[in-house]
Amino acid sequence: MKKIINDPSTVVADALRGLAAAHGDLLDVRHDPAVVLRADAPVPRKVAVISGGGSGHEPLHGGFVGRGMLDAACPGAVFTSPTPDQVQDAVARTDGGAGALLIVKNYTGDVLNFETAAELAAADGVEVRTVVIDDDVAVQDSTYTAGRRGVGGTVLLEKLVGAAAERGVDLDGCEALARRVVGQVRSMGLALTPCTVPHAGEPSFTLGEDEMELGIGIHGEPGRRRVPAGTADEMVRALLEPILEDLPLAEGDRVLLFTNSMGGTPLIELYVAHGIAERLLAERGIRVERRLVGPYVTSLEMQGMSLTLLKLDDELVELWDAPVHTPALRWGV
């Protein structure tokens, strides 16, 4: 394992120090418990939008803290959900009197820890709502599993709800919006190489020279199926088809297309994939009206990609276009 780290057990704290140094104008980064706050938190009378999860998915979530997006992010250890005290602290420090919305990716660990945190925060007197995102269509038969995972769609959800909260939408409104977004966003990913968790020291799985893992999550867990790697056309189809089966879109429907790198895939390849996805959607008469291309929800140095489709309407387009000022997403300011 070769990594730019000093010690696996301090990697999250060390990275937070770098994040704080790089974005001191935007962020207030706290340790013990680790919480990344908007520099101007709490914002009076604004719903606090809070998320968090294991580290190793950067820029998710700390890179999305700032005006128009998250009020706080709670980074866990690498690929390990944060603990309830982090989330409780984040709620306390961002509560502007309008309550807090917790955005939780659907993993057993995340759900359980945020559940406990929500109880603790409620006991502190803050009104808290939790929305669980589970956009990964790779997980089928959800009665026989822990359910679909939260993956790429998370960043879109955080942006849209963050924009609504910034405009003064109340807790009910933010929660309703979040549930609506969760209902119409779907993702699917693949890996060409595994990643190595610093404290594990070994790759999360091994893949043959011509194999890829289809239907991976974002924690270096193996996918559902191992298939021949194939061409970019084949890869994009393998991601897009299950999404379109699950999210019925009619000709003329409007979507946001998010082409995401798992971290190690270079931008040149990501643009190749994005171009193909745009072409395939155009062939079906689906109108791509907004797009996001880049490494936004990653799995350490894993090579691979995911596609996310969000069905758009005027309200969502407006919220997407609203100003955002965070380390990783910025426009309109």
């Binding site: 250890a77 660990g109 359980l112 599993t145 799985f205 924690h219």
Partner: protein, 207 residues
């Protein structure tokens, strides 16, 4: 010959040593069907618990168990943090503020722990989780409750070991391993393994 606060603290220190020794094994098991952090998570939590115990050992067994619960909840993270945390919390509640725990109390605590895990995680036997180790352990502990504390824990440890082994052929239906579907079969569940390791340690260290 009951179990005092000091005994419980010693058992937890022993558990921390065993977790540290088995850290890599648990990481490897979790890498195979999960995300490779189970050993690291537990090790971080138990190391934190030892630090707290070094500062101060609560007066009652229940107090020690409660300290274990809150420490694990705030340091482990992942699925195992809340699940083991709840297990210790329910165990603490079940023993109340008794100064010593007899065999009945220990069996009752294990039973409460299992109820807590199931309440939080909603897993059933056969889902390939720590519940597969803890359920037979509770049954065995109850059956041995007329003996001494060591009998209860030894019976629990043996049953947990078999329960953990029984997860190998299973297809996971809860936790991260469930995403693998059929591919999860043929692997020992890391949480079941850690449960069996903890019980074996408690049995060894119990008075």
């Amino acid at each position: 010959m009951g179990c005092t606060a000091a005994d419980v603290a010693d058992a937890l220190r022993a558990a921390a040593r065993v977790v540290a020794e088995h850290r890599d094994e648990l990481v490897r098991l979790d890498r195979e069907i999960g995300d490779g952090d189970h050993g690291e998570n537990l090790n971080r939590g138990f190391a934190a618990l030892v630090s707290k115990l070094d500062e101060n050992v609560p007066a009652s067994p229940g107090g020690v168990l409660r300290l274990a619960a809150t420490t694990l909840i705030s340091t482990v993270g992942g699925a195992a943090g809340p699940l083991y945390g709840t297990a210790f919390l329910r165990a603490a509640t079940s023993v109340g503020d008794a100064a010593e725990l007899d065999a009945e109390a220990v069996a009752g605590a294990l039973s409460a722990a299992l109820e807590g895990v199931v309440a939080r995680g909603k897993a059933e036997v056969g889902d390939k989780t720590m519940v597969d180790a803890l359920t037979p352990a509770v049954v065995a502990a109850r059956a041995a409750a007329s003996g001494g504390v060591r009998d209860v824990l030894t019976a629990a440890a043996e049953a947990a070991e078999m329960g953990a082994e029984s997860t190998v052929p299973l297809v996971a239906r809860k936790g991260r391993a469930s995403y693998l579907g059929e591919r999860s079969a043929g692997h020992l569940d890391p949480g079941a393994r850690s449960t069996s390791l903890l019980l074996r340690t408690f049995a060894g260290g119990a008075g």
